[in-house]
Amino acid sequence: MSPRITLLGPQPRSSLRRALGDLDPEALVSTVTAGWQEREVDDAELRELVGLRTVNLSLHARMQSVYDEDREYAHAEREHEAALAELRQLYLVQLDHALSAAYDVARGSDARPRLRERALTDSLRVVALLDAQHMQRVSDFQQAFYDAWLPQERPAVARNRDEIQSVLEGSSALAIAGGHVGELARVLHLFHVAPHLPARVVAWSAGAMALTERVVLFHDFVPHGVAHTEVYGRGIGVVPGVVALPHARRRLRVGDQIRMSVLSRRFAPARCLVLDDATRVPLDEAGGLPPDARVLDHDGHIASVEAA
């Protein structure tokens, strides 16, 4: 049975309570705070917020213990991460040119609108192709790494996977906090969390991103100007057809209609879901967005799903 999933925006004080409010008072809620990395254990506020019995899966600490125990694997993963970083840099170089071209075409004022629209569609196809190829390369790399190193057969990983599975099977819900989305996605994959999700899953910010099929990184306000929105890799894929954008109004130039339009169209048919502070988005049983969820429409505006 698919879990009932609720995605939340940042600052989930009230929205988290509402998302878990109907659980049995004795229910056990597993939590993931691995996105906070070495601050994973500072979860007192979260426990209080959940207001039920909680157990932290300690995925970051478990990953560190795997590295300590299995140096060979740790070294191999470090090399693997370095290769992925190189792959990312190559993708970013290409993306820089392709996205700049798309913006230039979109902003061009001389051409007839009909011709400009065709050129923009072509430019977006190029961007989408780069995105898709990068995703595929990352996936191939990951698969090759897993095939070569078989983490599921390495005692340190296997033992932790078993323990996590056991905790999840005894939990009524899983709450995944935000933080570093790369770290979150990595531990969720490594410890094979997806197949053992409890009946209820609540995730916010980076946690919400990690549940999607495709993690997209964005930040229009980096110190040295604007960084391009980029595809990072696969999340655990239990929320299909959604690109999660937490802190959208804080991190994106939402007033730049052309940029927002390019962003929305680039990832279509997936929906770019705006997760601002205290937003609560309960997905339907098929994992679809509710009609009142806020998304970026193809004109670059923020609108409800039903209006977009």
């Binding site: 470090r78 840099q89 933080g179 937490p246």
Partner: protein, 386 residues
């Protein structure tokens, strides 16, 4: 039809109109105002005291190095109004002449000082300039650590002290990029480099980085296109650090940084070993050159620099992937630095040039660190969604 609101008179002009304009009025005026008085683009510099002449001494390119202040009639208050563009930061001193005696001093009415290895000077924060908050200690930011090592160098024929910065949460199981900083102690002391690194790394704006702060012995020799210094960097220091520390060990994880002559030393080492360093950070580089003849005006110290820069400009080569350059528009070096941008770009190096409304100062380089470091080694900011 409404007429525009009349411009408010400058504070100094309001004082001039005051009657009686006596000692007590000047006392009250000085007690009420921060000096220099910044009113929009106009900054009023003041000096109070008996003198035959008072000059404002500064080194903003385009302005006279010494500008006479005027005495406010009937008082011992001297003033000069200067227009400074938004966001300017200008170092200055006062020169006071009494008879044959001339004294150069910091502004006694202004507590703001700029520090450098050659001493202090007063500093005027123009309208809109604010010391970036990330340059000051942040009690919440995790602290990296500093440790001192000695690297024996056959190239330089001495043991070279190096101060290493290890980021907070340093782990031997991780890998880090390396930043080598010329004039290390000055960057630490006058550009708050450790505080800046701690803050920017903690905020995910800059990647966790290991930094080697170099201690020059004779920078006028070592930093002026010296083969020995370049050999020390490329054949001794970097290999040693990459053997003993968990460094990436690839060009993309190696960056040389320097300001002024340190910029020349960085470029010179990269030119001697193209492809070794992925990035260069060149702040107010002393890239003095001549288009014709040898009269560069920099004195004998700059002879080897000019020779080097002229040669590089005659045959520019791609020596790194990325070059970050910055320069203050009030520096004499602004023109040579601007000229180097197309030279670097012509080689295919990705070049980013930042201009500041500042001079050849450590505070200028401090304020530029965020732009430079976050571009060369961007942090995980794009990955973090709390």
């Amino acid at each position: 039809m409404t007429s525009p609101a009349p411009k408010r008179k400058l504070a100094i002009n309001r004082l001039r109109d005051r009657k009686p304009l006596d000692h007590a009025a000047v006392d009250r005026f000085l007690a009420r105002n921060e000096v220099p008085i910044v009113e929009g683009a106009r900054c009023t510099f003041l000096f109070r005291g008996d003198a035959d002449e008072v000059l404002l001494a500064q080194r903003v390119v385009g302005l006279p190095e010494q500008m006479p202040m005027r005495k406010l009639r009937g008082t011992d208050l001297w003033y000069l109004v200067l227009e400074l563009p938004e966001g300017s930061r200008v170092n200055y001193q006062l020169e006071v002449r009494r008879g044959e005696h001339v004294e150069r001093l910091n502004d006694p009415l202004n507590p703001k000082l700029s520090y450098s290895p050659v001493g202090t000077s007063s500093v005027c924060f123009g309208h809109g300039y604010q010391t970036p908050e990330w340059t000051g200690p942040d009690p919440v930011a995790r602290q990296g650590s500093l440790e001192h090592i000695e690297v024996p160098s056959r190239a330089l024929r001495r043991d070279c002290p190096v101060t290493l910065y290890l980021p907070a949460r340093f782990r031997r199981t991780s890998t880090y990029p390396l930043l080598v900083v010329h004039d290390g102690p000055d960057f630490l002391q006058y550009a708050a480099a450790k505080t800046v690194l701690d803050n920017l790394i903690d905020r995910f704006e800059v990647a966790e980085t290991i930094v080697a702060f170099l201690h020059p012995k004779d920078r006028l020799t070592e930093y002026t296109n010296s083969t020995a210094h370049s050999r020390f960097l490329t054949q001794e220091l970097v290999p040693r650090l990459e053997t003993t520390l968990p460094l990436m060990g690839r060009p993309s994880g190696r960056c040389l940084m320097g300001s002024s002559l340190g910029g020349v030393a960085s470029l010179s080492a990269a030119v001697r070993s193209p492809g070794t360093y992925g990035s260069l950070i060149l702040m107010s580089g002393s890239f003095v050159f001549t288009d014709i003849g040898n009269d560069h005006g920099g004195g004998p110290v700059f002879d080897p620099v000019v020779k080097f820069v002229n040669r590089y400009r005659a045959g520019p080569a791609r020596v790194a992937d990325r070059v970050f350059m910055s320069c203050g528009v009030y520096e004499p070096l602004i023109a040579p630095n601007r000229s180097m941008v197309p030279t670097f770009e012509s080689t295919g190096m990705s070049t980013r040039f930042v201009e500041t409304r500042d001079g050849h100062t450590w505070e200028n380089w401090r304020d530029t660190l965020r732009d430079a470091l976050s571009w060369v080694y961007p942090g995980a900011q794009k990955f973090v969604y709390e």
